[in-house]
């Protein structure tokens, strides 16, 4: 933990803590949530409000008349859709920058995360998991890469040696070269930001969901969604496919191997319909 905190404290360009998401997730868990408290939370930030409204009014939402305010958006699209648009807006700002240590160009980490989140929505919806949690964990699953990228910047040759020659996964390679990996770093970041345990654990264990007990179903959902994003061609950066196969994730979720291909098709259709996930901000 000490090494992790040391790395996290040294990063100069970490995004601000997404306190709003933590607060919104808490509100959405309440049985009788008051619409005005959600609206107040979002409208406190005018730039965020503008971006969320822009997303509400994108063609993909299919609204005949545009939405003019967050409270109108909540009425017409529902709390959950507004929550996901807020989460996507915040995550895009956090994940849009290039991560040269991973060979990830500007926009690509966001593109991968957005595809994973859209896939998580499909997987969670199919399995009856809590969709907002799955969506958020998937959006933020690789956020630990922001912590480790600069440390890997001059290590391309070592990464190739460990992955291609020694046959280690990228995650194991990070552990060998830095003593920590991006899943641990992401989990720790979420913990420091005050996210609930279930999300911390799903992000920390998104490459090894069994370890996330008692939250292994959510972690397995993030793992499978991450794999689906790779299968959609959105595994980006150096050695992007140096990822260990975890058949136990399919067992945890009771997904038959053959069903994986159907999930890929379903996620692809969902992604094509999600304008905010396919457009990259300049």
């Amino acid at each position: 933990m000490k090494a992790l905190d040391y790395y996290i404290d040294r990063v100069k360009t970490l995004p601000p803590a997404p306190r709003l998401l933590v607060e919104l997730l808490r509100l959405l868990q309440e049985p009788e949530v008051d619409a005005s408290s959600i609206v107040d939370c979002v409208t406190f930030d005018p730039a965020l409000t503008a971006s969320v409204l822009q997303r509400c009014n994108s063609a993909a939402q299919g609204l005949a008349e545009p939405v003019h305010s967050i409270s109108e958006g909540v009425v017409r699209l529902g709390f959950n859709e507004i929550y996901r648009l807020v989460a996507a807006t915040i995550a895009e700002t956090a994940l849009n920058s290039p991560q040269p240590g991973y060979g990830i160009a500007a926009g690509q980490l966001w593109q991968h995360s957005a595809a994973t989140a859209v896939a998580a929505r499909v997987v969670a919806g199919r399995l009856g998991l809590e969709v907002n949690q799955a969506f958020t964990a998937a959006l933020l699953h690789d956020i630990g890469k922001l912590v480790l990228s600069s440390l890997l910047e001059d290590a391309y040759n070592e990464v190739i040696r460990e992955t291609e020659q020694a046959g280690h996964s990228f995650l194991k390679t990070e552990k060998i070269l830095l003593g920590v990996d991006h899943a641990e770093a992401g989990g720790r970041l979420l913990e420091r930001w005050g996210f609930p345990d279930v999300l911390v654990s799903a992000v920390r264990c998104h490459h090894d969901p069994v370890q996330a007990n008692p939250h292994k179903r959510l972690a397995a959902c993030v793992y499978v969604s991450d794999m689906v994003a790779h299968l959609l061609g959105l595994g980006l950066g150096y050695q992007a496919y140096a990822v260990e196969g975890r058949p136990e994730a399919l067992r945890i979720l009771e997904i038959a191997p053959r069903e994986l291909e159907s999930l890929v098709i379903e996620a692809n259709t969902a992604l094509e319909r999600t304008e905010w996930a396919t457009q990259i901000a300049p």
């Binding site: 060979g103 990830i104 391309y156 190739i160 992955t163 291609e164 046959g167 996964s169 794999m227 790779h230 299968l231 959609l232 061609g233 959105l234 595994g235 980006l236 950066g237 150096y238 050695q239 992007a240 496919y241 140096a242 990822v243 260990e244 196969g245 058949p247 399919l250 191997p257 053959r258 994986l260 291909e261 159907s262 890929v264 098709i265 692809n268």
Partner: protein, 178 residues
């Protein structure tokens, strides 16, 4: 007076991006076909030097029987229906099966001994089987591995190039005709 064809405008290069689960054919010699993010998906290019026409496919899954409705709507999503659709479209441009030069790239593989997630491997196997059945041989290929690839076909000469993150410069998979 007829309008000039695009190919008559010197130096005009038309870049045609083929999306995931998409395909394209053309006989415009100024066309550069390109497909990004070939991970576990497979990219196929075909080029007939005699008629100067060719095409590109970016298929995502090996077998269309998993979803026949989707295969009707978007045949290029699957290896079996995609290759058939690519050749059918190319024959309209007088491409000849016996002259065609085929290149294949993609099919990246996870580190997954169980094979459950290795759709890349299944995509490559499906292609090999399909080409074998139709007596077609692949001239050049670059498949498997751990990387995502960008593939491009230049219809001016049939040259096929690949690019991967971390690699300086392009890999020339098939040199163009001079």
């Amino acid at each position: 007076m007829p309008s000039p064809s695009l190919s008559a405008i010197a130096g005009f290069e038309q870049k045609l991006v083929v999306g995931v689960g998409g395909m394209a054919v053309s006989n415009n010699r100024n066309t550069l076909m390109i497909t990004y993010s070939l991970g576990s998906c497979v990219g196929v290019t075909i080029y007939d030097p005699v008629v100067g026409a060719g095409g590109m496919l970016h298929a995502m899954l090996p077998d269309s029987t998993i979803n026949s409705t989707k295969a009707m709507e978007q045949p290029a999503m699957f290896v079996d229906t995609g290759v058939a659709a690519l050749f059918r479209a190319a024959y309209e441009l007088r491409v000849d099966k016996h002259r065609v030069r085929i290149c294949v790239a993609g099919g990246a593989q996870f580190m997954d001994p169980s094979g459950f997630f290795n759709i890349g491997q299944r995509n490559c196997a499906a292609l090999t089987q399909l080409f074998g059945r139709h007596g077609l041989s692949v001239e050049h290929h670059e498949i498997g591995g751990l990387v995502s690839r960008t593939m491009q076909l230049n219809l001016a000469n049939g040259e096929v190039r690949l690019k991967s993150p971390g690699c300086n410069g392009d890999l020339i998979l098939s040199p163009g005709l001079s």
